[in-house]
Symmetry: C2
Subunit: 392 residues, 2 copies
Amino acid sequence: MTFSALSHLECSRTGAALDADVVQGVSAAGAPLLARYDLERVAATVKPAEVAHRPPDLWRYHEVLPVRDRAHVVTLGEGMTPLLPLPRHGARIGLPRLLMKDEGLLPTGAFKARGAAVGVSRAVELGVAGIAMPTNGNAGAAWAAYAARAGIGALVAMPADAPEITRRECVIAGAELHVVDGLIGDAGALVRAEVARRPGWQDTATLREPYRIEGKKTMGYEIAEQLGWRLPDVIVYPTGGGVGIIAIHKALLELRELGWVSGDPPRLVAVQAEGCRPIVDAFLAGADESAAPADPRTVAFGITVPKPLGDFLVLDAVRSTGGTAIAVTDEDLLAAQAALARDEGTWICPEGAACVAAVAQLRGAGELAESDEVVVLNTGSGLVYPHTVGLP
Amino acid sequence: MTFSALSHLECSRTGAALDADVVQGVSAAGAPLLARYDLERVAATVKPAEVAHRPPDLWRYHEVLPVRDRAHVVTLGEGMTPLLPLPRHGARIGLPRLLMKDEGLLPTGAFKARGAAVGVSRAVELGVAGIAMPTNGNAGAAWAAYAARAGIGALVAMPADAPEITRRECVIAGAELHVVDGLIGDAGALVRAEVARRPGWQDTATLREPYRIEGKKTMGYEIAEQLGWRLPDVIVYPTGGGVGIIAIHKALLELRELGWVSGDPPRLVAVQAEGCRPIVDAFLAGADESAAPADPRTVAFGITVPKPLGDFLVLDAVRSTGGTAIAVTDEDLLAAQAALARDEGTWICPEGAACVAAVAQLRGAGELAESDEVVVLNTGSGLVYPHTVGLP
């Protein structure tokens, strides 16, 4: 078996195949590209029990990751984050089988490290000279760090309202930082203009390059492995650009095709903040795509994405698994963050806290049963958001 | 084999044995207590290859940890942090075999989570109602989190100069927080008074309870395991209270007694800041104990400990392994922090950066050879110290 079983890229709208061994952005139809693998060959040559003996980072799933040569792996030790039972908080909200995957324990303090590790590794493998991206903070911090580790250039553009500490993460890693008076879309325009004038540079905006999603899908692989190659009933994910939930959905489908898990996939729940809920509105309206809200605003800044490129993929992930989409208020998510810290000792980010608030509300509404095994994703460390905790 | 092979506690000065199954503080001689195990039985029943198949957290070494019943383990998923090669920075400073153990990826953002996990677990097992401690910040944050997770009380006293974010970590975890206008010794006096009036509470100040050191020794076990049950030539550790270096030394001796590694132990290097260098001065003077400096002060606040209780154990660890002690300036450690981030993408804490600066200086002075395999401990995430990175 070679290090990667990557076969080609596929347009997520039309199914058209593209060459995976040159730098690609979106498809001719303007849609995100999905990496495809020879899963039959992987299934025939690798068993889950073998994976269990590999080092505890996301590269343990290297056959279903896109990096062809192990020598091109750029790593800061990311992956195999804890899957923590939350017994006290679960009992309080009527979900005794509540679990949290804690992505705050990744390099740079957020789940974004997964996408950056795999995205930068593959960019290096394909000869990219520098990466440029708009960000709500955490992704820029992660890609800046991995670009430094790889020794390639990095340009990051973020809204002035993004968490200040993520700016410092970019600066210390030596990235070129642009602070934009606007939202992530405005930052995206700046990035596209800069990439156009820099030969060999790549626009690594959300879903505009194919490999970030591959890094993030390892969250799904890890959940399955940590449960003993079994899946929970429900997975709950905070949704901004949507890569995380799309990626976990992709992982679930691959895991089934590999034969590493069986049965129905978990119901996927997309969580947004009331101040920016395009996916929730589209879900409730039965629409296939989302419409940007007028004045998006929430303390969970990481999910302030008015019009995600992959909205149709998020909606498909939720609908095809029998899941749902729900928005919570800033007040409720901050209360959930505080309650969880007191109950379980873990200081999570506002985006993760939105999921904790959401499961309590879904349980209250009877959409989750007491018997459900529910995995909530905490996408980052509370350390990145010090202002969410007041001092006496 | 039972979960733990703990046999008794031993006075680190006199060797006197004490009962491990009641709450203990320091020995009659006023010295730290060391946990002892039936290592012969462990060696006869557990092999390193078996450990490799256990989940990736510090509890994989449970036979040599003090918790007797697995049900008493209080965990946030701590341990098995990455051991990262630093090829670009290593080449720059003439140490091509430089590695860093990155403890910033632990819960609460610092290596203190190891001591808190094991210390709180054992406290719960022995029926302690609440823990109280003075701290330079990170330890208090960690013990507050694990106490919340365990459902016991926590009182934390820290100097006003401690990193502000660690205060927020204590607050959100529901700890009783006291901010003291002074140094860690002043905070210690407050804690002793409070513990005296609270039945069932324990003073968990540095080396005043025996189990924090057991959690931290897993750094040594992990380094050995991650190198394939082999030890490096040199291990470099930032030294304040000294528990980390004492604990790694203890691990090295246990590993040899277990037969899990062989050969000479690594040379242990204690790193301090010029603004607070009692261990360095004692080492250079050939003294067995340290003397408190008049006005201790460094940006690496975590190692501002004027008179550590375990100073004689630190000096023994350094001398008996043929190591050394060295102090670096704040200017040099901040420069090392920035250089490492640009070279390798990792944002480390000032205390870890002191070690990075120290190895460059030791290499320059010829005390480290180009061929030496050197492991530097980064004890925490840069996220806890945002002010160490300026914004443009």
